[in-house]
Symmetry: C2
Subunit: 253 residues, 2 copies
């Protein structure tokens, strides 16, 4: 039975607008998940079992499960299989990115605002990272820098872009602040499509990619040298410079 204890009708003349059962069930399950009662990786019982546990029909359970999957708290939903959905948190970030992308594409947020935010955030993250860079993140960044070089010589813009995104994420991850990594991950994912458009529309790809690689090297060098100030300014110049030169391609004015 779903507890319907919520919302005591404070104003007696307003009819009690209870939420649909499916939403109530999803909230209860959500609470079980985020409160840790159902640890990450737990496989949920079958829909029939949930039917009995919550005292509602399978349709209702299924709607609740869809809600939780959309919120990123349950795996699955992307493929049809008999595998039971698992409690997961990987898709939560993806869900947040999806939300941000929706706001973006609905035209509520100009790209320039988003870029300004990214400059501030990434600058701060790198400044923080420079004080004590994680060695494995630095190593990963170096690998991705190599990948960028190869992609540039091969003229593979898409591969370059992938490595580029990875590089920035790795650099931000070199600091140990999870919040930076999270928000910047979302930001990047939302901006990525614009960026790829801009790269694809380049008149002289080789020259631009070469310059970008140089700027990446400078950023990496500054962080390795522990010079947070320089890292911040260089990443700022790197991002703003690119958007000033090639940012108009994507379309968002």
């Amino acid at each position: 039975m779903v507890s319907t204890s919520a919302s005591p009708s404070l104003s007696p003349f307003e009819p009690v607008r209870r939420a649909p059962l499916s939403v109530l069930v999803s909230r209860q399950m959500r609470e079980l998940i985020v409160s840790g009662v159902l640890p990450l990786g737990t496989a949920l019982p079958s829909e029939k079992a949930l039917t009995e546990q919550f005292g509602v029909s399978r349709s209702t359970i299924r709607e609740a499960l869809r809600i939780l999957q959309a919120q990123g708290l349950l795996s699955g939903g992307d493929t049809v299989s008999t595998a039971r959905p698992q409690v997961s948190d990987r898709h939560v970030v993806e869900s947040a990115a999806l939300a941000l992308e929706a706001v973006l594409r609905l035209g509520q947020v100009p790209l320039t605002d988003l870029v300004a935010l990214r400059v501030v955030l990434e600058g701060a993250a790198l400044e923080h990272a420079a004080s004590d860079p994680g060695p494995e993140a630095i190593a990963e960044a170096r690998v991705l820098l190599d990948a960028m070089r190869h992609a540039a010589t091969a003229g593979d813009v898409a591969a370059f872009h992938t490595a580029d995104v990875g590089f920035h994420i790795a650099m931000v991850g070199a600091g140990d602040n999870v919040a930076y990594r999270l928000v910047l991950g979302v930001l990047r994912e939302a901006i990525a499509v614009h960026l790829l458009d801009a790269l694809a529309d380049l008149a002289e790809p080789a020259a631009v990619l070469g310059q970008l690689i140089g700027e990446h090297e400078a950023v990496l060098g500054a962080v390795e040298a522990g010079d947070g100030h320089a890292a911040r300014h260089q990443v700022r110049a790197h991002i703003l410079g690119f958007y000033a030169a090639h940012g108009q391609a994507g379309g968002t004015p």
Copy 2:
């Protein structure tokens, strides 16, 4: 008929794992929404009509609608009514905030990291705002500051908290960068519960609230004076000071 044209099986030996129809339908509808074919405020057709348009059964349509509601792209879902869900973007931010809150409560992000992020972000936003503060935002901030004073004298911690949150949002909104407002809104919503706990646990509420009001006044003054540097440093001190003194209450270590 839902177009199943996506994902041409590139590797013929991997069985084509198509996504459930409900997910496909939700993606199509999502695309219609974010691409602007269905403008904000549009009321969706009835479920039966959608049934015919997409060539799937009502159960499938309903699951798709639940997904879109969870993503914040459709209104409704919180109350049961015959009103058709409307295309909306207000709930998208809420959805992002929900995702962030989930990550937080799952223990993936320490509160200190989040606070550090907020300091950087809010500092940058206020520095930006100081260069050209929106007068109506400033007026709103002043009203909320008054509300804080009244709440403090009345000893109403909850009201103080509400006004506090509103003040910070108004100040950030004084700059015209939508991205700052968006992300900080999400951040605040995620932090809010910790903050309220901390306020409720104060040993000497009156003194602390008084000090907070003073700090808020200083921040407002700096922005009005156009001194971005001072605004950034003051809001930084304001946030870090509070969390250093009272931040342990919420529980997240």
